[in-house]
């Protein structure tokens, strides 16, 4: 295969060139810069139009109001309106609740599944394919399955049938205000955990075997080995994945949209992202939606800042 690459450090291409002052060196430099920009152009234009500009535009929009084609500056009006939306605090409460629940279920489960899979010498490929299969499903397909077949509130639903089989109390799932969030977390974890499992598996395979051996010599049992070897050795990826997962789950959208038809029973499913969508595309209030987007950005950026601060400080001690 063409992938076998000599490991030596690549030398700077300019260093191997004679460095004498030659006429036209400047021109050559300019030309090579221009060639470089030509190759960059397409991607840079796409980034500029669809990422960098919208970022600025979003902040600008949140202080403007467009009515009948006329745009005026309105100061903090949009923010005021969005904060006074009766669903505003509920949406934040629901989103935080979902994030917290997803952290309990969706964060620990893939890690332990990865530890378990890493121990097996057989059926490895099969188990990996199984875990990753739901990740490949279009989320809309998977969620309709959950909505109609799994979370059917009567005893005909898959989950209730299983619960009944084990003589456990059944649930009304999406129709009960208390079960809405756990039901969405279950669906979301089922759909997404495969990616995390595979990433953890790769991290586990990089742990040197001697560490386990040494720990065992010292008389450490399985749990102690997990606690003292596995977790410290995968700390970096664990903390990175926690942050990525929190940022992803805070953007909860398609689960409430499909499973709960948006808001759910008594607003029990409304998320911040759904509120953005609702304001932007149903209440004809793109400016208010942009303001909520900026609030979300500030909250997530603040969270990431604090998180990185905390985790890096712990590393120093």
């Amino acid at each position: 295969m063409a992938t076998t690459i000599a490991p030596g450090a690549p030398a700077e291409v300019t260093a191997s060139r004679p460095l004498g002052r030659r006429p036209g060196r400047r021109k050559r430099r300019l030309q090579s810069n221009l060639t470089g920009y030509a190759f960059l152009l397409g991607a840079v234009v796409c980034f500029a139009v669809f990422s960098w500009y919208p970022m600025v535009r979003g902040i600008v929009m949140s202080f403007q109001r467009t009515r009948r084609g006329e745009t005026t500056w309105v100061g903090w009006d949009n923010y005021e309106r969005i904060v006074n939306d009766p669903s505003f605090w509920t949406a934040w409460k629901n989103t935080f609740y979902f994030t917290a629940l997803a952290l309990v279920l969706g964060y620990a489960v893939p890690f332990f599944v990865a530890i378990l899979l890493n121990e097996f010498r057989h059926a490895k490929g099969y188990l990996r394919i199984l875990v990753y299969l739901p990740v490949m499903l279009p989320p809309a397909s998977a969620l309709f399955l959950f909505k109609y077949y799994a979370y059917d509130p009567s005893d005909a639903g898959l989950f209730n049938a299983v619960l009944k089989f084990f003589h456990l109390p059944t649930s009304e799932w999406m129709q009960s205000t208390t079960m809405t969030m756990p039901a969405m977390v279950i669906a979301s974890t089922w759909m997404n955990m495969g990616a995390a499992v595979l990433i953890y598996l790769a991290a586990l395979q990089n742990i040197p075997g001697e560490l386990y051996e040494a720990a065992e010599m010292d008389g450490a049992g399985i749990w102690r080995r997990i606690w003292n070897v596995t977790i410290p050795q995968t700390k970096l990826i664990l903390s990175l994945m926690a942050m990525l997962q929190i940022v992803a789950t805070m953007q909860l959208f398609i689960e409430p949209l499909i499973l709960a038809n948006g808001a759910g029973t008594q607003d029990s499913a409304t998320s911040v992202a759904y509120l953005i969508y609702q304001h932007g595309f149903f209440q004809n209030d793109l400016n208010g939606a942009a303001a909520l987007g900026v609030i979300m950005l500030v909250v997530l950026a603040g969270f990431s800042f604090v998180y990185v601060r905390l985790t890096s400080r712990r590393d120093e001690t």
């Binding site: 700077e12 796409c46 919208p54 399955l145 049938a161 089922w190 399985i222 969508y277 793109l286």
Partner: protein, 290 residues
């Protein structure tokens, strides 16, 4: 094979061996039930009649399996059209990303024009911005492009061009190109090859694995995406399959909706089973050894 949490020797002897096989069997059964079970339920459920699906307790295998839900889904939702749209968008997104992201990563890695690192930094910074935050201003941009004042609604470009602004792809490609020795580049330049020629005849053939990974990500991203295509492809003729099913779900019997969901999922499942090796290695290679 390196040693893991439990030593091989311990697993091979007496009680350890017994425990290992019990645990393995249990995990295989539980995982099959958890991950294939719902899919089985979905496929067979859509074979049942509306009456049978509402029956308690539910039947494990349809009493009278019928394909009517699948044929109804195919005809009523015009799934052929929806699937074709999605294929078309995925193929276009793949071409745009391969051409533009590869050449950008090549420029950043090998041609290194002035301010290249600043540009890369600005690109990577977009990874920090949650998608939901940008959705409104992106939509406003697409319905009235700056300078050109063109409306891209219902045009595939509204899916293809934003897909190019994918910092993760550029990062993966650039890192791979960085690992190709400079000597190869300078040798090519010495032989008088233009930068384009070097990219095409030397760099790209060496980069097949990473190009495969990027292609797979590009295709699955389009297939799985929901909100963005829902917003920018609003008319029934241009919808993607997920959006189309969602749009029809309100007034369609639930068995038909699920049958449509099954059909929409088949291409990704087949795609996964064909490319599972590259998908899984790409996932871990891409996200870890940064």
């Amino acid at each position: 094979m390196t040693r893991t949490l439990v030593s091989h020797a311990q697993m091979r002897r007496g009680r350890g061996r017994y425990l290992y096989w019990t645990l393995l069997t249990a995990v295989v059964i539980v995982f099959t039930l958890v991950f294939i079970g719902p899919l089985y339920w979905m496929v067979t459920g859509a074979l049942k009649s509306g009456q049978e699906i509402a029956q308690t307790p539910p039947t494990l295998w349809p009493e009278d399996p019928r394909l009517t839900n699948y044929t109804d889904a195919w005809n009523q939702l015009d799934l052929a059209k929806l699937l074709f749209n999605t294929f078309y968008y995925a193929a276009g997104a793949l071409v745009f990303q391969l051409v533009l992201d590869t050449s950008a990563a090549y420029a950043l890695s090998k041609l290194r024009p002035a301010f290249g690192n600043a540009i890369l930094g600005l690109m990577l910074a977009t990874l920090m911005i949650p998608a939901m935050v940008l959705i409104i201003p992106q939509y406003v941009t697409v319905i009235d492009l700056p300078i050109l004042h063109v409306n891209l609604l219902d045009s595939p470009l509204a899916l293809w061009l934003p897909a190019v602004a994918n910092a993760f792809n550029i990062f993966l490609l650039k890192r791979f190109f960085d690992s190709i020795p400079e000597e190869i580049m300078s040798a090519a330049i010495m032989d008088g090859a233009t930068p384009l020629r070097t990219l095409w005849s030397i760099i790209l053939p060496m980069s097949r694995p990473i190009l495969g990974v990027v292609s797979i990500f590009a295709v699955t991203a389009v297939w799985k995406d929901f909100l963005w295509p829902k917003l920018v492809m609003p008319s029934p003729e241009t919808r993607t399959v997920s959006v189309g099913i969602y749009a029809f779900s309100g007034g369609t019997p639930m068995n038909v909706v699920v049958a449509a969901a099954v059909i929409a999922a088949i291409p990704t499942i087949v795609f996964f089973l064909i490319f599972q090796k590259s998908i899984m290695s790409g996932l871990t290679a891409g996200s870890l050894k940064g």
